[in-house]
């Protein structure tokens, strides 16, 4: 495995009960890269994302075939604890979902319970909020409920919450689809900043967003990986006709 690869999928098939959601996916994700997953609704991109931190385990009746190697170890091996995987592979969801707790406790929650950075929570909270560029807006209201923040602030709080676990990878499932353009721009800037230290895999419905922020782009269609290449290449000279049709808006 190349040294700049952090995740490698080998012939992955995935089923919800009897229906197959992903077919023969083999691909690698580069370290400290932003990889965008695009494709029409129901193409399996979110399903793939949730496979990477075993969130699909929560749904009854799902089945995975093939291997997903994270740092050369199959995360679906029987001796692997999904809880451990999720500590290293964080996630940000489509709708901001802060806990109904204070801003401080939203960030401190994960580290406190899992013993990550057990020592200095105050510093960790400050650092995480600074990383997600929220610190200046909330430093005086850390003990107020996170539910009072705006949608965009809530989403940056959720990013800070994930960062506080010091993950290696950050999975983002359409993180800006519920946000206004200004909040979206802030999150995109943030992603640009975060990729220095983290590997980011982002699902997006917004083609411009994929073009703006990602290094690599993977196009999915009906559960299959159709084309996977440098973002620039995908958006200027796609090799497959389906990809071209999708990015030029002919379907989707």
């Amino acid at each position: 495995m190349e040294s700049n690869t952090i995740i490698k999928l080998k012939d992955v098939n995935f089923y919800y009960g009897p229906s197959q959601a992903l077919t023969d996916i083999s691909m690698t994700f580069g370290k400290n890269k932003v990889t965008a997953l695009i494709g029409p609704s129901g193409c399996g991109k979110s399903t793939l994302l949730r496979l990477l931190n075993r969130m699909n385990d929560l749904i009854d009746g799902t089945r995975v075939e093939g291997e997903i190697l994270f740092e050369e170890k199959n995360i679906y091996a029987p001796d692997v604890d999904p809880v451990e995987i999720r500590r290293k592979i964080g996630m940000v969801f489509q709708k901001p979902n802060p806990f109904p707790k204070t801003i401080y406790n939203n960030i401190a929650y994960g580290p406190k319970l899992t013993g990550v950075n057990g020592g200095d929570l105050d510093t960790l909270v400050e650092l995480s909020l600074k990383q997600s560029v929220l610190w200046d807006e909330v430093k005086d209201v850390l003990n107020k409920s996170a539910m009072n923040l705006s949608g965009g602030q809530q989403q940056r709080l959720c990013i800070a919450r994930a960062l506080a676990m010091k993950p290696d990878i950050l999975l983002m499932d359409e993180p800006t689809s519920a946000l206004d353009p200004i909040s979206t721009a802030k999150i995109e800037e943030l992603i640009e900043e975060l990729k220095k230290d983290y590997t980011i895999i982002i699902v997006t419905h917004n083609m411009q967003q994929a073009a703006r922020i990602s290094d690599e782009t993977a196009f999915f269609y009906i559960g299959s990986l159709i084309e996977y290449n440098k973002t620039e290449k995908i958006f200027t000279k796609p090799e497959v006709k389906q990809t071209e049709d999708y990015i030029t808006g002919r379907f989707g």
């Binding site: 979902n97 806990f99 929650y109 409920s145």
Partner: protein, 292 residues
Amino acid sequence: MQSSKNNSMKWRYLKQHVFFGMVRASALIITLALGGIIFYIVYNGIGAISWEFITKPPTHSMTQGGIMPAILGTIYLTVGAIAIGLPLGIASAIYLTEYAKQGRVIRFLKVGINCLAGVPSVVFGLFGLGFFVIFLKFGSSILSGSLTLGFLILPTIIGASEEALKAVPQTFREASLSLGVSKWQTTYRIVLPNAMPGILTGSILGIGRAAGETAPIMFTAAAYFTAKLPGSIFDEVMALPYHIYVLATAGTNIEATRPIQFGTVLVLVAVVLGIDLIAIIIRSYMRRNKRW
């Protein structure tokens, strides 16, 4: 043509009026019935209420004096029933909604719990007598009575807890699990605190039932008369519902003690409302930060 259209409009208006009238009448009847019962109890019972009535034990073969031991007994039994029913009920509901794989076994279990809710309370009383009083040798005691009442209110609490747990947004669970927090910690730290107000709301119904039931305690806990207060959970107690039953059916002078009977009923209603009020205060305290 025009007139037939007008007629059908009129007819629809009429139907609407009749229907609204019926709905309004139903609401009115319920309100009147409730108001009537409360008025009747207060009107007949208020005369018996005095400081002595609620702080002194009965005297003269229970035809005079107060009902303090019965008030205390009912509070003990109700608190005991909550202490047993609430943790057990919440734990069962957590298993059913958070852990158990949905399937035939769980459906069967849920049917069982619903059946339990429909079992007449006297059956619980006999079960308590056979199991707690005799088999486990707890005797007729606060412990036996609390256990019996605890089991009686279990289906109510399980049902309320299940609904409250299901109402906690799935996104909270996902957020917590995605941080690498274990399932149990997620349940304990995120799901349960957010479900607690709902659990208490539903459990208030059970609390009222535990305080008011006669049949389950008459074999397991309630004494006809004790002058002394219970010293431990293995002692018998007097209890308000049973005291009312005794005075109204087997007292030494049924007619003469009518005011005491109504006074006791009034106190019972007040005790139930008081316990509910405490639950409501705890609930609003827990709710202060919750909004989603």
